[in-house]
Chain length 224, copies 4
């Protein structure tokens, strides 16, 4: 009746036919918002920017979302949902833990870069927008969403066979940091493909990049 749920999918529409157009409007709004937020960040994006990108007027957005913050939250949530889905799909196929991690990281990076076909840069927003650009009343929601996604990484990392004494939490944070940084410097069509980046990063964590340590002759494992 008034504004829509700020979160997740729009309310189910009574008449599927008459609604297609309406639903598209809503989807179009969300996509436009994703694009603009992704490019300009939260603070520098105005409601008119978004409205203009949708072919709406600024006031109309408020029919769908009660505030700019809620709109970003919806975009963010959609981003989380989509990356999560892509991540799950990538990881689902059988394989050893390191392989699955590499696949997950690849999927993650592709979503960040908006390379999935027909995809608006929802995931990009999810990575680009830092909580502290943000209206405080949404902080918790944001962090909850982010944590929900990061839990997928945790699960994967927990499954990794690791050397004794390795701090898995730190490993996760280190990996996520490196991944979040990628959109900063990655240029599509550049020297490295996302697959290559993913593979190299995972490999470097798995086996290191230092010169192969020659086991000092003899036998038996030793720890680093």
């Amino acid at each position: 009746m008034t504004a829509r749920a700020a979160f997740g999918a729009p309310a189910a529409s009574p008449h599927a036919t008459a609604r297609t157009q309406a639903r598209n409007r809503h989807a179009a709004l969300l996509e436009a918002a994703a694009h603009v937020f992704r490019r300009r960040g939260y603070a520098l994006t105005t409601m008119r920017d978004i409205a203009g990108a949708t072919g709406m007027t600024a006031g109309s957005i408020y029919y769908h979302y009660p505030s700019k913050g809620d709109l970003l939250l919806a975009v963010y949530a959609e981003g989380v949902r989509r990356v999560g889905e892509a991540f799950d799909a990538a990881v689902a196929r059988p394989g050893d833990a390191w392989t699955r991690l590499r696949r997950g990281v690849t999927a993650h990076l592709r979503m960040m870069a908006g390379l999935a076909p027909g995809d608006a840069p929802f995931a990009g927003v999810f990575v680009q927008v830092q909580p502290h650009d943000f209206p405080p009343e949404h902080h918790d929601a944001l962090i909850a969403l982010r944590n929900g996604y990061e839990a997928k990484f945790r699960a994967l990392i927990d499954a990794l066979p690791l050397r004794r004494g390795v701090d898995r939490t730190l490993l996760r944070l280190q990996l996520i940091g490196a991944l979040n940084h990628v959109p900063t410097w990655y240029r599509p069509g550049g020297a490295r493909s996302l697959e290559a980046i993913a593979a190299a990063m995972v490999r470097s964590l798995q086996a290191g990049v230092g010169p192969r340590v020659v086991p000092p002759r003899g036998f038996g494992a030793r720890r680093g």
Copy 2:
């Protein structure tokens, strides 16, 4: 009409007697700005916030800096200068390349966290503020500063003995991403010290965290 010191050193003060005090005022302003930008980011910080933190009026800031963007730029530059200095000092002492990298990373993290004694969080700003929160006319200056600092990392990483075929640029970006992420989750007094974090991160890159590879039985060389 008014002195403009958009960058780097403050303008020379007209009267020699007042110079010391002036410089102090100026320094106080810069520090206050660092604190506020660090906490709230660029967009959410108002000139009045900064002025209030210095005991000045918003209008007064404009005697020292021609705009908000220039003020942040000065803070950022000061951040870069200080981290750079700390980094250089840490790296200067003799040691093998991996050790020096670990020391550099440690110094970097300590500056980020504002742990250097008596330090305003200049370095924190340098990491917290993303270029795209920022007025476009300063983008290049910002990026130049950042690149200047990152060159120190490059130098160190170029000195690293690495396995054949490792992409040093990617390695650097991976490391910097991981480091920039630390302020997001690091809590002073928590389980991990910054030194431990630095050591673990560098070690993981050097030797990996995967289980020790069993040399394939037999002897002799193995592939890169």
Copy 3:
């Protein structure tokens, strides 16, 4: 295109079968509007508030009334109609003029307070909403309605036996002012009933509240 009943009775419904229901809808809308206007005043009431209170959508109201101003006008008119009716009934029974005034005032106050059984606070709106909260194009209509009601007071007051030289118009305005103020401070269930208030007010006008003047024995009139 749409039926317009700006004033007074609702538009005749097209289909006879639906008429009853239509009239109910319409009445419900008017009552809801009365409630909301009464509580929040004209300016602070939104069409959505009213719609929400009826279970309608804001847009739907426009089928019944062409504008917010017209809706209030209808509520106001209904208020006038109802108070007028109650007033007339109260005053119709035989009695001397002061008694009839007291009855009229009592009826007026009960309507204001919405104490008539099953009554929406139409009359409350009539007193609460001041013309100058109001779109200018309705001013005259509003004032005409108000004057129509106040004429009933005038008639009653004209019938009052009064001391020579008393300004009847001023008396009426004084009484109406006092009455309009009652909703401001009256609390149902408080120390004074509306009947008591009415009686006390009328009595104070009739005989004054000053100490009884003892006519100084002897002869000759004297003034209060």
Copy 4:
């Protein structure tokens, strides 16, 4: 430094001379606000209206008052202060209680009407603006101010010699209601002067307007 106290007089100015102009600006703003609020009421008055009436821009008002509500509150408070002062002065001169009441009422009405020489209609606002037109967060402040003023009436009415059993509170409310209504119908230059209105109202309360009561026993009837 930021915005002024929302209430009462502006902060004392350090330099009396340099400030005269500034103080005048502030006073001019307050007066302009009084005029506009008085004419249009709270809701229909825009900040631009007020700014325009002062020769300021809308934004500038916020240097002096943090919000529209606070501005009205200041006007209201000034109104209360001024009426209170005038009332006190009128009542201070010696005289019997009814005489003093009449003088107080006269003063009150003159302030309402803005007849005091050189006076902006602060008092008019105080009477015209009803609490429920108003942002809820200021309700209590408003009511406290109003009560503060009404206490002066209470004191005067408590001093009145009254017939046994008269409800003094009700009497006060009745009188205040009648007085508040005056600005609604009073036209300067009309048939009744404010003094005459005041005198008639007080006299009617003191001695009533009904025909002189015939003292039961004894003789010597007198006319109605």
